[in-house]
């Protein structure tokens, strides 16, 4: 059988030795050697849905965009020229999902943006990190500064026991008005201290579960990861389960479900185009996106539930009555559901939930049905929800 063994010049994560010591199988991903699994993808997936999974996402880019003015209005204006978010309504410590767009409205990357006292904190994808930095830097006016936080790693703690775990390891709010981590709401963030290290903690993630993402200085990250991993509810989780968890959660993966050839409306990310920005524009691709919002997109990103056990992967053709109507953008076996699932970009006429389609996988026609996403309900700790 065919097993690939890729050898490349790979960057090492700050926790490289820590992963290897725990049995992590390292593979190339986004230019880094990263753990794809420890004990096994299905076991790690199930553990995260039931307990708390620790993910190393230090390959992602951590950027700060700031300006010398006290209220960061110059930085805000510079970022609104690149993103369709309404940053005027983003409170201190508030976090949003947003998109870097090109002039045609295509998606250059998806990212998280948080308002800090001293600027805006952005977390971007690892594979697009260098291109994002170049893109943002090229578009910033004088007086607005981009800083890359290369001296920080990023960990995600995800799962129903994440809050309980994070509350026990001695994190202290760095400012009087900052609440304890277990009282942060979904998509909010703040500065914390842990054993002398300055951390940034946000209640967010990409698994569909409650959880946190924690930016940690490289010098402290091994001790911090170990403090989390000592908790009996915590196990390290690799990229394999990260992918199956986000797929079940209906969350798109950049480079697969999102590309420069796909606009936010087609991708089902219309919520990321803020109301004020829809009217006022002023971000790349506004014309095309406004038209797609008004008339409806020609294609849509949909969820597909497959019959049988054979998975459909990225690139497989989706057919309706034998005629091609789209392409699978990511897919795999769903450990929670016990059958394969997929995301696909298909003609809008066939995107209604309940539509029966087939997927061509190596000459076999697999039966698939359009289903709403997420495949598994989100369990975020939302404000106003018990």
């Amino acid at each position: 059988m065919s097993l690939t063994h890729e050898i490349e010049d790979l960057a090492l994560l700050p926790l490289d030795a820590w992963h290897r010591a725990r049995g992590g199988r390292m593979v190339p991903f986004a230019g880094h050697a990263m753990p794809v699994q420890y004990e096994g993808i299905i076991a790690e997936h199930v553990w995260t849905r039931e307990q708390a999974g620790l993910f190393d996402v230090s390959h992602m880019g951590q950027l700060v965009v700031s300006s010398a003015d006290g209220d960061q209005s110059a930085a805000q204006a510079a970022l609104e020229a690149l993103l369709p978010a309404d940053l005027s309504t983003l409170a201190l410590g508030g976090q949003r999902y947003s998109l870097l767009l090109n002039a045609a409205g295509g998606i250059l990357d998806d990212l998280m943006i948080t308002r800090w006292t001293g600027g805006f904190f952005l977390v971007v994808n690892g594979a697009t990190r260098a291109a994002d930095i170049a893109h943002i830097a090229a578009h910033l006016p004088a007086g607005v500064t981009l800083t890359v936080r290369d001296d920080h790693g990023l960990l995600a703690l995800q799962g129903p026991r994440a809050a309980e775990v994070l509350a026990t390891i001695g994190l202290e709010p760095a400012l009087p008005q900052i609440v304890p981590v277990e009282r942060l709401w979904f998509m909010s963030a703040g500065p914390y201290r842990w054993h002398g290290a300055d951390l940034h903690v946000s209640r967010s993630g990409y698994s569909g579960e409650d959880g946190y993402e924690i930016a940690v200085p490289v010098a402290a990250i091994a001790a911090f990861a170990e403090a989390l991993a000592m908790h009996p509810a915590v196990r390290p989780i690799g990229l394999g389960a990260r992918d199956s968890l986000r797929l079940e959660a209906g969350l798109p993966l950049y480079g697969h479900d999102l590309t420069p050839d796909i606009d936010p409306v087609e991708a089902g990310l219309g919520f990321a185009i803020a109301k004020r920005r829809r009217v006022e524009g002023g971000f790349p691709g506004h014309d095309r996106i406004a038209a797609a919002l008004a008339s409806g997109p020609a294609r849509r990103r949909v969820g597909l539930a497959l019959a049988g056990r054979l998975a459909a992967r990225e690139g497989a053709t989706v057919l309706a009555d034998g005629a091609p109507v789209g392409t699978v953008t990511s897919g795999g076996f769903s450990p929670s559901l016990g059958h394969p699932i997929a995301m696909a970009l298909i003609d809008a006429a066939h995107a209604v939930p309940g539509t029966e389609l087939t997927i061509d996988v190596r000459g076999r026609a697999l039966a698939a049905r359009v289903v709403p996403m997420p495949f598994i309900p989100h369990r975020y700790h939302r404000k106003g929800v018990a």
Binding site: M1, R309, A311
Partner: protein, 123 residues
């Protein structure tokens, strides 16, 4: 009954002019959790090196190649309900198919256990 191996991580137990084929413990460890196994049809005629089976894991779909040419005489029906047998018992109960050999001389090109162990150690 001698067991041989291929450079592509299949094993084959040869008994005169017939044989049983599977994938090695190393191969299953690299694939991770196996969710589906597509075996060849009984009666299928395989040429050495043909893609004869597909193993789908949570990571990817991988082809299994015919170590030698011949005709499929039986398949492991247990894999339909328990594909994870290839994880838990890849070199015994997780076998894939039985076949009659077209040319027993092709066996001479396979690796013995020692040569295969050296190959895996070098990866």
């Amino acid at each position: 009954m001698p067991r041989y191996f291929t450079r592509d991580h299949e094993w084959i137990d040869v008994d005169g002019a017939s044989a049983r084929v599977g994938i090695t413990a190393f191969a299953q460890s690299q694939l991770g959790d196996i969710t589906f196994v597509e075996v060849p049809a009984v009666g299928a005629v395989l040429v050495r090196g043909d893609s004869a089976a597909v193993i789908d894991s949570v990571k990817a779909a991988s082809d299994v190649y015919a170590p030698v040419g011949g005709t499929v005489t039986a398949i492991n029906a247990a894999l339909e309900d328990a594909p994870d047998l290839v994880n838990s018992a890849s070199e015994s109960d997780g076998w894939l198919w039985d076949m009659d050999l077209a040319d027993p001389g092709e066996v001479d090109d396979l690796l013995d256990a020692e040569a295969y162990a050296e190959l895996v150690a070098a990866l």
